[in-house]
């Protein structure tokens, strides 16, 4: 039963990936729609980032002095100025660890 559910979940996930790629034809995308689709990364990723930083494992708000907030702000600042993926991730993680292990 659970094995069946992995396969169904897999097929469902694959469907979310292939459906738009195979179904949408170029002429279906108007200039207006294209402009809106431009925002897709800017709407999807913050929807993962915000709860990941602001909430704990149980969905409750973390305190303002939580290491995650400190790490996220560091990553944002470093990322904003350097636009470098490695520096962003490393600076975020190391400041997060510094906060946990030193302070």
């Amino acid at each position: 039963m659970t094995w069946t559910s992995i396969f169904i979940a897999g097929i469902l996930t694959y469907f979310t990936r292939m459906s738009m790629v195979t179904l949408i034809k170029k002429e279906m995308i108007s200039d207006n729609l294209r402009k809106i689709l431009n925002y897709v990364p800017s709407v999807v990723f913050p929807s993962i980032i915000f709860p990941g930083v602001l909430l704990d494992d149980f969905g409750a708000f973390v305190s303002i002095s939580d290491p995650k907030i400190f790490g996220a702000i560091t990553a944002l600042v470093i990322g904003f100025f350097t636009r470098n993926v490695i520096l962003t991730i490393v600076s975020g993680l190391s400041s997060y660890w510094a906060f946990i292990f030193i302070f």
Partner: protein, 228 residues
């Protein structure tokens, strides 16, 4: 005009920094699967068949917590529904490909690969073989995800939980959005969707993950209307 192989390598190179977070996340996932009481084979099978990080964790957590298969499957579908948006964005660039190629490439559409390949497509819209960028970024992400899951299954306990490596996931996505932080409209839309996600986080079936982007897109639509 770049060759297929060159573009394939650029795809790998562009997504490589994100492996810094994907790799530990895969280890964490493998370890969680075993911790929850699933067999190594069952845990690994989700990485091969579902291939969607966060959705796999939720899937195993729900099943081990006694939820019905229907609920676990529905949650996976909802969490992964963001791929509809990725597919819609990418469709334009994959237009010219045969159905078989589209079906093949689709399996490799994941968050980080979509993000970096979409940036490449926007800069090089006329490259004949630009889909090889998505194949490159997708295959390396797939490979690292499979390997790290297996490492996590067998060695997961060597990673101390105090390290809080789960935090690498929001960080990898922060590294993606920093490119748009200089555009006011994008920042506004980010704040709206991020706050919506925080607000709807406890909605059933993890629906926040698709509700909030849709709210954000609706806001983007209004902003574009006002700009005219």
């Amino acid at each position: 005009m770049r060759s297929k192989y060159e573009i394939f390598k650029i795809g790998i190179k562009d997504v490589a920094p994100h492996l810094l977070s994907v790799f530990p996340f895969g280890i964490i996932f493998g370890a969680i699967g075993i911790e929850l009481g699933f067999s190594p084979l069952f845990t690994y099978a989700t990485s091969l068949i579902i291939f969607g990080g966060a959705s796999q964790i939720v899937f195993l957590q729900l099943l081990s917590g006694g939820a019905s298969s229907l609920i676990a499957i529905t949650s996976v579908g909802v969490i992964n529904s963001r791929h509809f948006l990725y597919g819609a964005v990418l469709s334009e660039y994959l237009q010219k490909l045969s159905l078989i190629k589209k079906l093949f490439i689709s399996y490799f559409i994941v968050d980080q690969g979509f993000a970096v390949s979409n940036q490449y497509f926007k800069k090089n819209p006329t490259e004949e073989f630009n889909h090889y960028h998505l194949i490159g970024s997708g295959i390396i992400l797939w490979f690292i995800w499979q390997v790290s899951t297996i490492i996590g299954i067998y060695l997961g306990s060597i990673v101390p939980e105090e390290l809080g490596l789960k935090f690498a996931i929001p960080l990898t996505f922060i590294a993606i959005i920093v490119n748009e932080l200089r555009k006011f409209d994008h920042v506004l839309v980010m704040l709206i969707s991020g706050l919506a996600a925080t607000f709807f986080y406890n909605a059933p079936f993890k629906t926040y993950i698709i509700i909030s982007p849709l709210i954000g897109l609706f806001a983007a639509m209004i902003i574009n209307k006002l700009k005219k």
